[in-house]
Symmetry: C2
Subunit: 314 residues, 2 copies
């Protein structure tokens, strides 16, 4: 099946001047321009954990796999360069589909997203075996002139800004999210951000990771968290007595939002909030503080500890 | 288990100046020096196809996974820079081993090889799921000043040189092979090679791939093929009447030799054979010809067609 699939790929993957040898050699050859550094991220997704083959369609699963990696490039404010897609496929898929059909299904989600974010599909490896679908994506990007955004550049006093709205990704956002590449590049290029992370495991845990890497603690303004309609919907389905509190818990703890959490000096953050340079929502959702740990406060309730909820990869 | 494993990794993966952020951010940041091009290769290996968990030990499996990618870098004559290792692990392994133990087992094969070939382990993703072991490695290298070696640079009249000896890799060479990085760099740097490929699927099929990419055909001198003792051993076990012919068939068709097949002009090839600059065996095993297809000849038998045996990834 691999040879047949490679033929399909060669017909469907556009030639890209950045990947000089196409898909034809032992390795891809990538040309870099400008910055002599590259940013590399890799994510492996498995059936039953990150998606459910036979329930979620393959096109959405493929989009999710590449999108999660683009989101990591966004967290570094890196321009997408090339992606490498490796797949392990069962010999027989749901409803008797063969591996070729499954591979094409995945790529029908991967290729449009690659085109949209101008990332070259420069290589990969497609295999069949006796096991569930596994997708491993490695994405390479180039930092902008200002250098990469990292988790560790924040300081006490910096404001937290978050893109989009949070929680309830299980209802579909986990597949349909927008990798925040454009947003990260715009903000870091024009304003200069201090630190960034993508919310893949939940606002609470990812905020505390950024804070810890920056040698700080984090406060979340829980009355300002942009709770998504899907978080409210899930909270309703949960049958919670206090739907608002339950929706907030989803926004704090649900993974796979793939929104970006940035730290910026108050002056920079205020300028960004005044200028509104993004098409998406951007919310001042907290701050970095000297005191370690994760904290919450509202306009009316004083600072208390906040539980670090979120997906812990255990 | 992932957090615990990351702690283990941080203790065991040496800091590397080429991977500036260590294993601590959303992505790795790699510094390139000199050549503004990079070479990227990726291989995904699965239990039951490339190795057998419970039969082969995990250390050897880990070594194999990184080694196969180093072999691809060697085929491009690229200097190893960084590798990214992603693993999907069953919740319970053979004899009740847990995923943490399995992950460490794999890395006990990966880390010494990484050290030996000076490649930074710069990132990865380790997951548990309900399925067999899957390992996906992406390796990044930098071409030497002369530029990368490719499959397509050969011309009719070029000689084929092959490192080491071939066939019978199932008896252990598939795990214990030497990625031919040093050999490729020495030859390409000092002599200039025309084309190269690593023999991952078998001499016959990989020679025809190099020839086709170079717009040529290939002749194998079947009386000169360096048949490994393991190929002879396997031929004996097969119970073949003509053990010599059966051993040759193994040398032509067995995969996972991970030796290198180079094309060079007769003058260059002759200089290399005279100088003997390598520690390993190097054999003049054939030539590129204008006539397409795969051919065989010996000192006494005229040229005839040769069947393209080898592993076809179907």
């Amino acid at each position: 099946m691999e040879l047949e699939f490679i033929r399909w790929l060669r017909e469907h993957v556009p030639a890209d001047p950045r990947a000089k040898l196409g898909l034809r050699d032992d390795a891809a050859l990538l040309s870099l321009v400008g910055n002599p550094n590259i940013v590399v991220t890799t994510d492996l997704l498995t059936d039953g954990v990150d998606f459910r083959v036979g329930v979620d369609n393959l096109k959405r699963i493929g989009r999710q796999a590449l999108g999660a990696n683009l989101s990591d490039l966004a967290a570094m404010a890196a321009t997408p360069l090339a992606a490498f897609i490796s797949v392990a496929l069962p010999r027989t898929g749901p409803a008797g589909t063969g591996p070729l059909e499954m591979a094409i299904g995945l790529y029908e989600g991967i290729l449009p997203l690659a085109r949209e974010y101008d990332i070259a599909i420069a290589g990969g490896d497609t295999n069949t075996y006796d096991g569930p679908v596994v997708i491993s994506v490695t994405a390479i990007g180039q930092p902008i002139q200002r250098g990469p955004l990292t988790r560790s550049g924040g300081h006490a006093g910096d404001w937290f800004l978050v893109t989009g709205s949070l929680g309830g990704s299980l209802l579909g956002h986990m597949f349909d999210f927008t990798p925040r590449i454009r947003e990260a590049l715009t903000l870091h290029e024009h304003y200069g951000l201090a630190a960034g992370i993508d919310i893949s495991d939940g606002l609470a845990i990812d905020a505390s990771r950024l804070a810890e890497a920056s040698g700080c603690g984090a406060v979340i303004y829980t009355d300002r968290v942009p709770v998504s309609p899907d978080a409210v919907e899930l909270a309703g389905r949960d049958g919670a007595d206090d739907v608002e509190a339950a929706a907030l818990a989803h926004a704090l703890g649900d993974g796979q939002d793939f929104e970006l959490l940035f730290a910026a000096t108050p002056k920079t953050a205020q300028a960004i909030l005044n200028d509104r340079p993004l098409d998406c929502r951007l919310t001042h959702v907290g701050e970095l503080i000297a005191e370690p740990g994760l904290w919450q406060q509202t306009a009316t309730v004083a600072r208390t500890r906040l539980e670090v909820t979120g997906w812990r990869h255990e």
